[in-house]
Symmetry: C2
Subunit: 354 residues, 2 copies
Amino acid sequence: MKKHNFSAGPSILPQSVLLKASEAVMDLDNSGLSLIEISHRSKAFVDIMENARSLALELLGLEGKGYKALFLQGGASTQFLMVALNLLEKRAGYINSGTWADKAIKEAKIYDDIYELGSSKEANYNYIPKGYDIPEDYDYFHCTSNNTIFGTQMKEFPNSPIPMVCDMSSDIFSRTLDFSKFDLIYAGAQKNMGPAGTTLVIVKEDILGKVSRKIPSMMDYKKHIGSGSMFNTPPVFPVYTSMLTLEWLKGLGGIAAIEKENEKKARLMYSEIDLNPLFKGFAVKEDRSNMNATFTLENENLKDTFETMLKEAGVEGLNGHRSVGGYRASMYNALPLDSVKVVVEIMSELESKA
Amino acid sequence: MKKHNFSAGPSILPQSVLLKASEAVMDLDNSGLSLIEISHRSKAFVDIMENARSLALELLGLEGKGYKALFLQGGASTQFLMVALNLLEKRAGYINSGTWADKAIKEAKIYDDIYELGSSKEANYNYIPKGYDIPEDYDYFHCTSNNTIFGTQMKEFPNSPIPMVCDMSSDIFSRTLDFSKFDLIYAGAQKNMGPAGTTLVIVKEDILGKVSRKIPSMMDYKKHIGSGSMFNTPPVFPVYTSMLTLEWLKGLGGIAAIEKENEKKARLMYSEIDLNPLFKGFAVKEDRSNMNATFTLENENLKDTFETMLKEAGVEGLNGHRSVGGYRASMYNALPLDSVKVVVEIMSELESKA
């Protein structure tokens, strides 16, 4: 049975990418060797890494603008720490828009003063904080573009007078933005880009080297840049598979093309949530995420029926995060519109049954 | 043509492991979903992680002895830092037996005093330092069991009066040892265990929690233990493939069985190096590694002939590291004895030609 994979991350990847990745594990490009048993210093893998790095910059429109792309390890959670180690001298301003933003703040606080310029914590993060000022004498400003758990997404970004750092883990490569507004972007691969195990970091080189602390090598963006994202053995398979996904995206027409698909999927899902009296959206309308739609079923008696219908249709991963409850439809780049149609039809059928 | 893969790491893995890993990228256990697109919180993946963790302890004979196994990210290079952050309060003693040991020392020095209790740096690391005392009032003792670049291996380990930490990246699971002598063992997966992208950490819980510094979450062994090695999204594919390799090793009869194979391979290789006047071993005999045999070809005029013969026989990855030059035969667990025979025959044929 065909599955409809709404997993919040790790999440659905294009079938063509899975096929090529699977083949490479047996034999990379007819070399007679597996992708995962060759030296990372071989020409074959250096080419893969360089291709992945340049595709990332190309798709974001950041080539030739002073940015470098790195494929690191440790997930966004390690970036919470690296951002502070590399950029925090005295104080920084953060937007607390969700669980991950809150964790980013906690990790950075180990190193120095962190100020929350805005927070929606008191409302269980069902909206994006707005109307804050960014002080000019802070070291940097940090925000989270999309909050996977709560289904909210920043639609506009401030014009920051200081370096702007953004955790784009759950919506990178999903919509057109002026990415040159950002000085540092990071994203775990496992939503729109590839399998778990690598983290893309896009950093404008001129913001680095300004803190006085001694930075451990593995935490130092400059060290990673200096060694072409191969300071130590990189996570070969996750980087290769991310490269394949970026090639797939480029082949589709890039971010502008996938953005249209993502908008169609989100419109379809949210119109059903709004029109169907059985369901209620969690996030405030103006801040709704095009990646993760969070909603609850108002009539608990219908829960079992709904979930049985989903299961019978092959729908996977629609359960909401425990902090919100209900359901969460994660509609990342590789999710087909048809999968959304299947869920929407079930929601509609449930209404007719009720 | 069949390849003989002597790559120093990432390195050869069993064909049966590559096949299962490749299949799982398309479909995990007939679930209809790929291994890399399911939630890491799904039962399927939690089972994989728990199986990998318990296999590691079982193979090392450390079950029920107060140890925990973790599959982390960032390679051994990140462990250089984590060891110091978690264990270093005032001072620690390190053995400087190679490039990686030297790097471990440099990273730890950021945090406090590090003393080199022994070093072979002055001899380009061609032997293992011995005859040192380990001070009882140090926080821990750190050594490197096998030095991949130089082809040396510790044959005996001291009885340490303080916690003993060992970087076993390049020989873990290759020989029987009393692993309970160690309090913390770490190893990048990409030699004897799996693909690049995960690092096994085996830690005795009672040595943790004794330093006064605040440890960032991702650097904190206790946090990772508390969350079952899933503090954040783990590197799914590298962990799964490591689990498959550990299952393969268990099926063969465990470490004792593979040790015999490894000894056969090493004996064959070193006897050719010693008996063939064209070649010269780099490491001193008593400290020779059973994993990496380093040697030079004494007659430079034969270099092209030798390398053409290797190439024609499908031998890959035999080049030495630039710090040593010459050749390095990495004979990790998954390398068949037949591959060593092929190289030894070529060496012997070269002698008859010369």
